[in-house]
Amino acid sequence: MDKKKIKCVVWDLDRTLWEGILSEGDEVGLRNGILTIIKELDRRGILQSISSKNEYIPTMKKLKEFGIEEYFLYPQINWGPKSDSIKRIQEALNIGIDSFAFIDDQMFELEEVKFSCPEVECILAERTDELLNMEMMMPRFITDESSKRRILYMNDKKRRELEEVYDGPQQEFLKTLKMKFTISLATEKDLKRLEELTIRTHQLNSTGNVYSYDELRQFIHSNRYEVIVAQLDDKYGEYGKIGLLLYEKRDGQWIIKLLLMSCRVMSKGVGSILLRYIINDAKRAGVSLIADFTPTDKNKIMYITYKFAGFNELSNEGESIRLEADMSSLSSYPDYVEVQEDTGER
């Protein structure tokens, strides 16, 4: 089996998740062992959804009866082709179609999905017993964020729905979220998540560099480097650890080697807040602040983030740009977010 990893499992219901056929009046019951599988996938951070040909209301009622409706994001219960349902789930979750698996008891449905979405891993319902032991169902790491991933996505859904109905200006909307931003020094227990963040984020990475667990570990134990991690919470719950800043301390000079943030928080000012924090800290330490920037075909937004945070170009050799912070600029945090600095004395 190849290295493919599944991020979302889409379940059929009749004769797959439960025994019997709901619309034919059967007294359906969950298949043996299904509940364990659902809960374990959830713990591993693999998202789950549903594609079932049924009537929406009675089907959701049944899922509620079994107490499992909360495990499924954007369930698709309708009479249309299942490939369409899977595409809708994929759009809503915004993760790659090649990280989807689809489980059904009917070859016809599996073939139909395979035909229009060949990247989707199609699995026959009778193989569900093997599911948890499949290599592709085992994420490289299981972090705090993984086991909460479903909740994070559900919160996102709530926020998006609210943002859509909210009529006022964006800035005012942000205020209503009551965001709380925590900045702290990275510790060993953050490492898996930080590695995951560097691997998953391309657009919002200031150098395009990706660091491994071991490299990050060396940085946090080195006296020359500091790794700062940012966490965001709002009234709907946690976003988790969503930003990282790595810098090197030299005599009279700090050099930012990496600034990155999760795409999910692009509109929340995370990059600017992290930069304001480090500018203020450098000011206190009486050192100048430099940032290394490597343009990629995706990260122009990070260049703008630096420039708008008061950094100016010091040198530009095309593939490597050096920026310096203007220390005279006044740096306070945006008023729509409460910032807590938890980095202790140094």
Partner: protein, 79 residues
């Protein structure tokens, strides 16, 4: 005049009804986030068909309706 109106319309989508004068510093009102900054740059480039160089991308050029308008007029003349 046309340019200034377009800039104002664009900004009002983010600032809403808060009163904003042509010379007001919009970043004093704590408006900057990566997405907004990027949208602002893309708006200036696409709406007016100009290309901004790295050196144009600084806070000074984008700090108020007047500065953004000046930047656009300057770049349009070059083009």
């Amino acid at each position: 005049m046309e340019t200034k109106k377009k800039v104002r319309d664009f900004l009002s989508r983010f600032i809403g009804n808060a009163k904003i004068n042509d010379e007001d510093n919009i970043f004093d009102k704590k408006l900057v986030n990566s997405l907004f900054a990027m949208q602002l740059v893309v708006f200036v480039e696409n709406e007016f068909g100009i290309v901004l160089q790295n050196e144009d991308l600084n806070l000074e050029n984008f700090k108020s309706i007047n500065s953004i308008t000046d930047l656009i007029e300057l770049k349009k003349d070059v083009a």
